[in-house]
């Protein structure tokens, strides 16, 4: 797989505070990559480094073989930076056209591109309006649109769905899912369920330290996992589940949610588990093949 981004020993200090601590990672071309972590974990710092907005204190970073911010990446790497706003004095179309112009698109092409990307985010009708005439959510979608101009190979979206209503957040997710064959998306969000749906590789930052996870990790070290979410609390669930012959270990990851470690047998375990729930009179809400991303990141017992 083609490696698009390679970071080695990256550190970033703000005065005495270390925002990123010796971070190394690789991002390959393909499915969207998630960047997760609590507030102040260093996500935006890493985003800013990748976009060339800031320089690292130590380490090296290469994006498609170039230094971040170099002219070779114009039009290839685009981004929705957190909290960045378009100029309120110009119409949306005027600004998107200008960005297309800087990316080297001809007059006719950039007009079409502006219309296309606004259509993608469902805002074709606001082209002639100014950013200040739009709601917060609409402005956010317009800034997502600017990241889709041309044919970018890497699209970085920092908190793309934050502040959007559920319908439009879903539309953005669908957009990312649809376009993920054309570009590699790097997404940061606090919504782990959202990232779990979209991404295969997860970069988890906490206090500037990076760890990697696979979304929907079904097995690790030859151990297999299923996450069962019940619709209500029942008595003795862990004990009863542990009595199943394939089950090695069960623990409650959070209220009404159980992580089951099992051994693969002749019969499919998930079918057996559903039968077992039915026999016990338990109503299940969700059955996840593997760990949820949330459990991988936050539950130490996993």
């Amino acid at each position: 797989m083609t490696v698009l981004i390679r970071g080695e020993g990256l550190s970033k200090n703000y005065g005495s505070k270390r925002a990123l601590d010796n971070v190394s990672f690789e991002i390959s071309k393909g499915a969207p990559v998630a960047l997760v972590g609590p507030n102040g974990a260093g996500k935006t710092t890493l985003f800013s480094l990748l976009c060339g907005y800031i320089l690292p204190s130590a380490g090296s970073l290469s994006v498609m073989g170039h230094k971040p911010g170099s002219a070779a990446l114009f039009g290839k790497l685009t981004a929705l930076p957190q909290d960045a706003q378009l100029d309120p004095r110009f119409s949306i179309a005027h600004q998107l056209n200008f960005y297309g112009q800087l990316q080297g698109l001809s007059n006719a092409v950039r007009n079409k591109e502006t219309a296309r990307v606004l259509e993608l985010v469902g805002l074709a009708e606001v082209a002639k309006q100014r950013p200040d005439d739009l709601s917060h959510g609409m402005r956010k979608r317009v800034t997502i649109a600017q990241a889709l101009i041309g044919t970018p190979e890497i699209v970085m979206l920092d908190e793309a769905t934050a502040g959007l209503d559920p319908i439009h957040a879903r539309e953005v997710r669908e957009l990312v899912s649809t376009l993920s064959n054309e570009a590699t998306f790097i997404l940061s969000s606090h919504d782990l369920t959202e990232l779990e749906r979209l991404c295969s590789q997860v970069l988890h930052l906490d206090q500037g330290v990076l760890s990697e996870h696979q979304a929907r990790s079904t097995s690790q070290d030859n151990k297999h996992y299923i996450t069962l979410q019940l619709s209500q609390l029942y008595d003795g669930v862990e004990t009863k589940l542990s009595s199943l012959p394939e089950v090695n270990h069960v623990y409650m990851s959070q209220s009404k949610e159980y992580v089951i470690e099992f051994e693969k047998g002749a019969d499919p375990f998930d079918i057996n588990l559903l039968h077992f729930c039915y026999q016990q009179g338990w109503h299940y809400r969700q059955l996840v093949n593997g760990h949820t991303l949330e459990n991988q990141i936050f539950n130490k017992e996993s």
Binding site: S48, C51, G52, Y53, I54, L55, G69, S70, A71, L73, F74, G75, L77, T78, A79, P81, D83, A84, Q85, L86, D87, R89, F90, H94, F98, Y99, Q101, L102, Q103, G104, T143, Q146
Partner: protein
Amino acid sequence: MTQLHPKRLAQIAQFELVRLFLTKRGLLAVAAFAICWLLILRYPIAQSVSLISSPDFADFARQMFGAIGISKLLDWPESELAVYWLIALFSFPGFCLFLCSDQTVGDKQRGTLRFLSLRATRSEIIIGRFLGQLLILTVLLFVTLMATVSMLAYREPSLFVSGLSRSVVLLLHLVITVMPFIALMSFLNTFARSARLSFVLAILFFAAGNIIIGLLSWQWPIFEVLNYLFPGYQIDLMAGQRAGLMLGVGLPLLQTAVLLVVAERIFARSSL
């Protein structure tokens, strides 16, 4: 300076023109400018013949601009251009500080530069914006100069050709004179937090700087050389057409180059 693509530079500079002439705020600035210059054209320039020949004029000019030695100007048959030259030379640099106070700082605070910097290098952004502002001021200088030449031709049609050729030289000198002022604002924009602050810093730079250098050179005359750091140091001499090529053209060009290089270096390393 690295990575300067002429096409992107031109596109960024052109966008600045649009910013002035197609936005509400820009149009207001143009309207205020036009009203001021209509008054200047209507009174001092339209009455330049009587003004220049007036015995009080030299005293008035001396009081206004100091002992600038304007005897050469009094000999110009194109008296409108002589008055224009004095007014433009002293007013455009100050106007320029105000007009160019928001080159990058507003976009930086808003985050708009983050969109731009993924499509243009930082050198292109800062130089492109500088060129854009220079283009705007050239347009404004050209328009006011042509209005003055028109008034001159209306008064005395035979002076039109000589007035036109003199106005080309004046335009070039004025453009070169305002360049370091624009570059100073490019530089101040790299670390100021707002356009207003960058304007205040520019005023402080000239006011406090002159006081400090005045005090230093009073004690140690060698510090007078620091005056060359200030854009417009040569204006007094230029007003009386007494500045040589090095002082009238070389100094502002050198100041512009130094300020732009420093601004570009700071901007290239600053966080967006």
